[in-house]
Symmetry: C2
Subunit: 178 residues, 2 copies
């Protein structure tokens, strides 16, 4: 119990486009004393020449996750908590959890979902260049099809951001056993 507060925590915030991954992730990172915010899309976009759509190339997806893991390990070695904001499936979260070099890191995996109507409503509120339209729904379906454990899913349809943040930070149900 004594050293509990010194344990580092790594959060993986997943969900379809429009579900609120970025807002939630930044809010969590902002509540932590010393934290890193890793935006998967930025890591993805580092590939310049020879770019392939990540969902079309397992090779490219593996490289993105390897890069995210390397950054996470560096930040944890430097005593930062880490928040990863990216579409992650259960096996991606397990890859990160099992690849951490430092022992005793708590890994929380939360998949934000909403009802379809709410997802479209939130998407329409974004700046035009970030709107996905009905492709949001495809993202939601793809996550459902991957059949993740229910306890990692949080339906945020009727929740405000702070409630979502408090639930993810406070509820041990989101922990991955590592």
């Amino acid at each position: 119990m004594g050293g509990e507060s010194l344990r580092r925590t790594l959060y993986i915030i997943s969900g379809p486009a429009g579900a609120g991954k970025s807002t939630t992730s930044k809010r969590i990172a902002g509540r932590l004393a010393k934290s890193a915010y890793i935006e998967g899309d930025l890591i993805d976009h580092m590939v310049f020449g020879g770019y392939e759509m990540p969902w079309l190339s397992q090779y490219h997806t593996d490289l993105i996750w390897q890069n995210i893991l390397s950054l996470a390990n560096n930040f944890i070695h430097h005593d930062h908590d880490v928040v990863i904001d990216y579409v992650a499936f259960m096996h991606n979260a397990e890859y990160i959890a099992s690849g951490l070099e430092q022992s005793g890191v708590s890994v929380k995996f939360a998949i934000l979902i909403t009802d379809e109507e709410e997802l479209l409503r939130r998407d329409a509120e974004r700046q035009p260049q970030f709107r996905m339209g009905h492709r949001c729904i495809e993202g939601l379906k793809e996550i459902r099809r991957s059949n993740p454990p229910e306890h990692h899913i949080i339906n945020t349809t009727r929740m405000d951001v702070d409630s979502v943040v408090e639930e993810i930070m406070g509820n041990p149900v989101f922990l991955i056993d590592s």
Copy 2:
């Protein structure tokens, strides 16, 4: 000679704000068949809680360079050439060159400088939120004070971007011995 074309190359494109690091780096990355573009400022901004200005904190600067090196190694293992766009001094470039896990990687270090008037002129052409004003000149002076080897410096005052790119990619004078 035979295997020369298969060697990976890592470029470190340095210089003060306004000298054209991003434009030059992206142009180089775009000419390579399979490349990664690592923007140091993005790596820097991943630190969220507990952020310190990088030039005020050696600890934070070391963490950024460690992150850049990890990404570079991952990309090189996956057969990408790498372009790093960040204010780098000679010792930063040497840290990267000596930390590469794969042997036989060519490392090119180019410091873009311009005359002071030209630096201010280019700065004024940027979008307002990116303009640095006279702080550009401080950046230029800081790089000069660090006294880097002359052969890593390229004065781009009277050069267009393509000429700069061709000079950096084609001239072996920018190579760091590793």
